[in-house]
């Protein structure tokens, strides 16, 4: 049996990057508790449009928790109160009738607000460009199983690859650090045989780009707690280890690069 909720929303409204922004208060009455949080916002927006007002802007795409587009802070917690869930998969049944809900965008110097709840996560793309890839010879497709990978290694790499790049880790981190995202992207490739040729340059380059935008890790573990994909901070330890190893291994070519990987 679904029931209806009457809610009061306090939503961050900001016209553009240069605007200072402020909270706006909206009544959300008659919300079916089978709706997702985004569907609830759709209803509120339809009513706003009907009243000739500017709808609340938010990022979204797949609405099944795998694309990484959606995400904002609900009552002080990225992606809201339900662990392991993106806002598109967060259902209104986790709220109570009469609740006041505060909704705010990710806050980080690296994630400037574009409008309302939409932020630019372009620095994540810069981190990926710095080494979140493998180089492979083109030509005829190889047999799928020609490179043997132990099952536990494949599983661990897949756990890291589950990162959807939503940015909740940065949003939750009191330091605005992107360690969980970066470490997941590094581990995903550094664990696998295909990632080995660029292993050391990957970690140095990606960490360098990460540190040029984001804060540093002080092991609060907030990122792990809010990650909708349950990425473990063990990957951060692995990134630190790979980074330190790369630094000690790669004495002549500090900036990394293919020649620096020798040895």
């Amino acid at each position: 049996m679904s029931k209806n909720l009457n809610l009061t929303l306090r939503v961050w409204r900001q016209r553009g990057p240069a605007d200072s922004g402020a909270f706006g208060t909206y009544k959300a009455d008659g919300i079916n508790d089978d709706m997702s949080f985004l569907e609830m916002l759709d209803v509120v927006n339809e009513r706003l449009i009907g009243d000739g007002k500017d709808p609340i802007a938010f990022d979204h795409d797949c609405r099944e928790g795998i694309c990484g587009s959606c995400g904002f802070v609900i009552d002080g917690r990225p992606h809201g109160p339900q662990p392991g869930t993106t806002v598109c998969q967060l259902h209104m049944r986790h709220f109570n009738d009469g609740d006041d809900i505060t909704v705010e965008p990710w806050r980080a110097a690296a994630f400037p607000i574009i409008k309302d709840l939409v932020v630019s996560r372009a620095p994540f793309d810069k981190i990926i460009q710095a080494g979140g890839y493998i180089s492979a010879p083109t030509g005829a497709a190889r047999d799928a199983n020609s490179t043997l990978i132990p099952k536990p290694t494949a599983d661990l790499a897949f756990d890291a690859a589950a990162c959807i790049g939503c940015g909740a880790c940065v949003a939750a981190c009191p330091n605005g650090a992107a360690q969980l995202f970066t470490s997941a992207k590094i581990a995903h490739l550094n664990l696998l045989p295909q990632g080995q040729p660029e292993r050391w340059s990957r970690v140095t380059s990606m960490v360098e780009v990460m540190e040029s935008y984001f804060g540093s890790c002080t092991n609060y573990r907030e990122c792990e707690a809010v990650c909708p994909k349950g990425i473990s901070i063990d990957f951060i330890a692995k990134m630190n280890r790979d980074f330190l190893q790369a630094k000690f291994r790669d004495k002549k070519k500090l900036a990394g690069g293919p020649l620096g990987d020798a040895g």
Binding site: R77, A109, I114, I128, I164, A225, D234, K238, N240
Partner: protein, 284 residues
């Protein structure tokens, strides 16, 4: 995965600030220039400081020996004479102090510069407030506990090493200095509060150092927290017990037996002159 995600809304809107890092030619500086490098330095210097804090606490447990004054003063004298004649008087002590001072400075420098970096990373706080899902009190107060411990260390040195904060200070008689220092209730309270904060700092730090150095392994991960908790508890219980023991009258009043006096007595029982004992030099 990322490439499969939705197209990002025009990033041209406003490009975030990029921190440009100077490329040092000296490897050590280049390494220390990175935040992960600084955290590794914090972890290693933290290990040095943890080792010191543990040995300091264990050494002071001599307060509970039956003949505490002799033992404590002799221990102090031993620290000054150890390594002679290969090393000059207090040579070994100054090697230890050199390592400690360097660790302390690096630990603080790394902490301050990383804190500044982190402040820049979120110039606008959450306007609607934020909640914490995992970060405990110890982790969230590291900067405060560290800051206060730094000042406490200066007071501690002034009180029991330099002596200018302790009217009853006698150089070379740690037992006397410690006894009359802890007898003052406000001073004892400073020691107790500072050591509780030290425990809090260690509770996070002794766990965090494993992550910073990349020491994670499913076999021992669960023990990292236990290690930090036990280490912090041992330091707090040991160190807090000293002022309490003095205040409770569980420790004898000093009889001014110096380490040298103890050596002379020891030589006497052997039937020789103290000067003939191996490795002993007297400084009048």
């Amino acid at each position: 995965m990322l490439s499969g995600s939705a197209p990002r809304t025009s990033a041209a809107a406003q490009a975030p600030a990029v921190r440009q890092r100077r490329k040092h030619h000296l490897w050590v500086l280049y390494f220390y220039g990175s935040a992960i490098g600084k955290k590794a330095v914090m972890a290693v210097t933290g290990i040095v400081l943890l080792g010191f804090v543990l040995m300091h606490m264990v050494g002071n447990l001599k307060l509970y020996y039956p003949d505490a004054e002799r033992h404590l003063n002799a221990y102090g004298e031993w620290l000054r004479t150890f390594g002679e004649p290969a090393l000059p008087h207090t040579g070994f002590l100054w090697i230890l102090r050199g390592g400690l001072i360097l660790s302390f400075i690096l630990h603080i420098h790394a902490a301050v510069s990383l804190t500044l970096m982190n402040r820049q990373a979120r110039p606008i706080k959450y306007q609607g407030g934020r909640s914490y899902a995992a970060a405990d009190y110890a982790a969230r107060t590291m900067r405060w506990s560290g800051f206060i411990i730094g000042f406490y260390v200066l007071f501690h040195l002034a009180d029991l090493t330099w002596g200018n904060a302790n009217p009853d200070f006698i150089r070379g008689e740690p037992y006397n200095n410690l006894y009359y220092s802890f007898e003052r209730v406000p001073v004892a309270l400073v020691y107790i509060v500072a050591n509780l904060l030290l425990g809090l700092h260690i509770y996070h730090g002794a766990w965090s150092l494993f992550q910073s150095l990349g020491l994670a392994n499913p076999r021992f991960n669960q023990w990292r927290r236990t290690f930090a908790a036990v280490f912090a508890a041992a330091i707090v219980i040991g160190n807090v017990s000293f002022p309490i023991a003095v205040l409770a009258g569980a420790v004898d009043e000093p009889e001014h037996i110096t380490g040298e006096a103890r050596l002379i007595e020891h030589a006497h029982t052997l039937g020789t002159a103290a000067e003939t004992l191996p490795g002993v030099t007297f400084h009048a």
